[in-house]
Structures are given as C-alpha cells and as structure tokens.
C-alpha cells in the first residue's frame, strides 16, 4: 500500500510534467482558454439558477454563490473520476511499450483536476464580492477540506481506473451514477431546508454531503464545517487504502489485460 505512495513520490517529476502538459492543452489559447475555464462553471451555475430560482421559485437568498462553491468542487471530482476511469484502458499501447508505474495514469487526472479547481477559485472571489459575502477566518478551513476531497477523489479514481480495464461499460454507468450522486448531495439545496434531522446521520454518510456542506459553510455562511467532515475523511482514507491495495494486487496484470 505505502509502496504505491512511495512510487508516486519518486516519480513526482513525471507527474508534474504530465499535469503541465494537460494544462497546456486545456489553456493552449492562453487568454481565451483560461477565460473559458472560468466561464464554463459560471454558465452551468446560471442554468441551475434559472431552473431553481426562476422556474421553480425555490432557493435561499445566497443560492447562486452557495451552489457555485459546491459546483466547483464537484467539477473537480467529475473531471478526475471520468478521466481516470479510462486512463489505463485507453493507454494500452503505452502500457505495452514502457514499464512505468501505472498508478501515474489515474493520479495525473486527479492532480490536473485539482489544479483546475484551484484556478477556478479565481471566479469564486468576484462572486463572493458580488453577493457581499463577508470574508471570515472560517475560510482558512479550505485547505483541510480540499485535502479531504483529494484523498477521497484519488481513492475513487484509482479503483475506477482498474475496474475500467475489466469492464468497459463502467464509463457509461458512471455518467448516470455521478449525475444522481450530484442531485442527491446538498449542492442544489441545503441540508437544513430539505433533510429532516432524524435522517441526517444516514444522509451525512455520503462524503459529498459533508464536503458540499463544508464548502458552503466556510466560504459563504462563515461557519465551521460540521463534525461529519471527519466521516468523509474516514471514507477518503478507506477508499484510498483500498485503491492502493488494488494497484499492488493488479498492477503486474494490467499490461496483459488492457
């Protein structure tokens, strides 16, 4: 398990190289590319605002900025898991040519997703100012919350990348699963409004319940994350542990099976 983590650390230069190449492709047209990476989530948010606030007349006063703080984090998870799922399965040529550590491939997409997320926070700051959100010391929680999401995302991505080699339809299944997962998680609504207190201990078992709630709390509401965030950390450690163990078990078989 720790062997895989040590490998990742030893090969960090390659990881940096790959992430940089990813970002270069994404922002090839420098100004326009970067602008799009900010506009894209903003437009998605506009669609949800139209749907929830204008059509269904729901949502709280700060709905757009609350949604946005969760949406940015979700886009990181979405990008990373979807890319990671096919990251080994589609690299058959490369895997059968060079004997590099395979764990690099899914990790690359989680790292690129993280970088894109951090850039997109640049669009969140003007939003916070626009909605006159007070900047509080609670925002200092952000690195902790991001770290918890990183661990969970990496674990999930590692598992998906291996399963994706053996079951090629995982990608199609994931598209729907992830969409439902997003709608069930408190991004478009808040827990206080929609989840009755007696259901909360179960509801908070979803790592994205506490992650979304934490982003909203620390960035917009100016309150600390709920204690359930440590449940998300627990899930993160468990998923990452399982993912690393799976790589230890399966790595030598991947070249034959892709």
């Amino acid at each position: 398990m720790f062997r895989q983590l040590r490998t990742l650390f030893a090969w960090r230069a390659l990881l940096v190289h790959l992430v940089r190449a990813d970002l270069q492709v994404a922002y090839r047209n420098k100004v326009l590319g970067f602008l799009w990476s900010l506009l894209d989530p903003l437009m998605l948010m506009a669609v949800y605002v139209l749907l929830v606030q204008v059509i269904f007349k729901r949502g709280e006063p700060l709905f757009p900025v609350l949604l946005f703080s969760a949406l940015l984090a979700w886009r990181w998870f979405l990008y990373s898991t979807q890319k990671a799922t096919m990251s080994i399965a589609t690299k058959d040529r490369l895997i059968q040519t060079v004997a590099f550590p395979r764990i690099i491939l899914p990790t690359q997409h989680v790292a690129t997703g993280l970088m894109k997320y951090l850039f997109s926070l640049g669009a969140l700051v003007p939003m916070l100012l626009l909605f006159r959100v007070t900047f509080t010391a609670q925002m200092l929680w952000l690195p902790v919350i991001v770290f918890i999401q990183l661990i969970f995302t990496l674990g999930f991505a590692l598992i998906c990348s291996i399963v994706g080699v053996y079951f090629r339809d995982l990608q199609n299944i994931l598209v729907f699963t992830l969409r439902i997962w997003f709608y069930l998680s408190p991004a478009l609504f808040s827990i206080a409004d929609r989840i009755p207190p007696y259901l909360r201990p179960i509801y908070m078992l979803n790592p994205f319940s506490s992650l979304f709630n934490a982003y909203k709390n620390i960035l917009v509401r100016g309150t600390p994350p709920s204690v359930y965030i440590w449940v998300a950390l627990g899930f993160g450690v468990a998923f990452l542990g399982f993912g690393l163990w799976l790589f230890d078990k399966m790595e030598h078989r991947l070249a034959k099976d892709v």
Binding site: W11, A13, L14, H17, L18, A21, V25, K91, R93, L94, I95, Q96, T97, V98, A99, F100, V163, Y166, F167, R168, D169, L170, I173, H252, R253, A255, K256, D257
Partner: protein, 258 residues
Amino acid sequence: MNSTIIKAEGVGLTFRRKSERRPTLRKALMRGFRRAGPPREFHALRDISFEVGRGETLGVIGPNGSGKSTLLRVIGGIYRPDEGTIHVNGRVSTLLSLTAGFQVELSGRENIALVGMLMGFSREHVRSHTEDVIEFAGVGSFIDAPVKTYSSGMVARLGFAIAAHLECDVLLVDEILGVGDKSFREKSQAKIRELISEHRTVVLVSHSLDAILEHSTSVLWLEGGCTKAHGDPQTVVEAYTKAPSANIGEDADKECLR
C-alpha cells in the same frame, strides 16, 4: 567484465484468449460475477532459459507469432512471467517498435520528454540528450509538429533514436533494422555496433537473418513460444533456414517438443 546482465530461468507466460476478456459490468452483475466457464488459455512462452552477459547481443528469431515480441516485453518488465524468473541487471530501454507508444497529438519533442521520463530518466537527463535524439532521428522541422503527422518511417526512427540515445544498460530492438530507407538502416546498424562496443547489452528481434548474424553473440530460435534452438549464431541460423516453415498457431498450444 563479462557479468550476467539478463538471466531468464524457465520463463513461461500465459494469456487468456481475447474472447474471454472485455465482459461488461452489466453482464457480470447479471451473472452474479460467476465465471462463464473455465478461461481458455494460450501459452505465449514456455520454459525459456538463457543468459546474456554485458556487451553481448542476443538475437531472437522465429516465425510470426512465435513469442519474440512477448519475450522482449518480459525482459522489459512489461509482463511479469507466470512461471520461472527473469533478472535484469540495469536499466532497460523502452520497447519502441514500429507501433510505438507515442502520444500522437503531442509533438516529437514533447514525446521525447514524455517517453524519456516514463522510462525513469530525469527531466534534465532527457533534455541534455534531446538534440542528439532529434539529429539522429533525422525528422528535421517535423520535430515540433504532432507525431500524428509523421510517416511510419519517421515514427520508427524517432523511437529508435530515443531508445538508443538515453543511455540504457539494455537495449531492446524489435524489427527496427528493416525499417526506413537505406541510409537510416545503415545509421542504425552503426549505432548498434557502437552501443555494443560500449559494452551495452542488446536483445535484437529481427526477420533479417543478415542483421542477426552480423550483431549477435548468441541466437535464440523461438517457435510456438518454445525454445527450438539456442546457441552459436551460425549454427542456429543455419538450422532455422533449413527447417520447414511451421504452421503458426496450429502447434502454438501444443506442448514443446523436447
């Protein structure tokens, strides 16, 4: 000086037949993850043993589908043998054959960096050898164009140039000497001679018996994944040319004749 660099002892490798793989998650769930019957196996290599010392060249010959490329992948650490052991003392070059694992959307220069780092070299090491690689490959101004715009000869030349210039202890050469125009063939033959004179170890797979005879210090004749003959180049090549052409695939799964 003549220490053993590659030592293979009873190496065997088994593949599952293609049709047995690629099940979908949907089907697997419906079957309840039970096996759809015993997997049909294909023995790509059986009981292969040889040693290659420093500065020696092993030539590998045999009909198509006899396991030559698979053997190179075992030496390159891409496949782990199912039986027996293989020890390689030193850094092995990537197996850049005609169907190299390049990222075709990246430029030639970016691919040199990528493949070099995937082989485990530092960014600095790769950078300091990049100009030599470019010059040897002779792709000219195409070096900054995407590899998908290259001719197959250019891809092969770039692949060989990377493998030959990044200072590996063991060079795996798969059918490269028959590629490219006359001048590149001569250049690559000269490069191999130079590497051998530098006491680099080479494993050479080729259908060109002249090339095998010129470079090899010993020759391994594979047929149906079995060792048909191994030893002095002159003797083995002579026996190979006299042998009736084998029916490939027909006897591939029979036991090896002793």
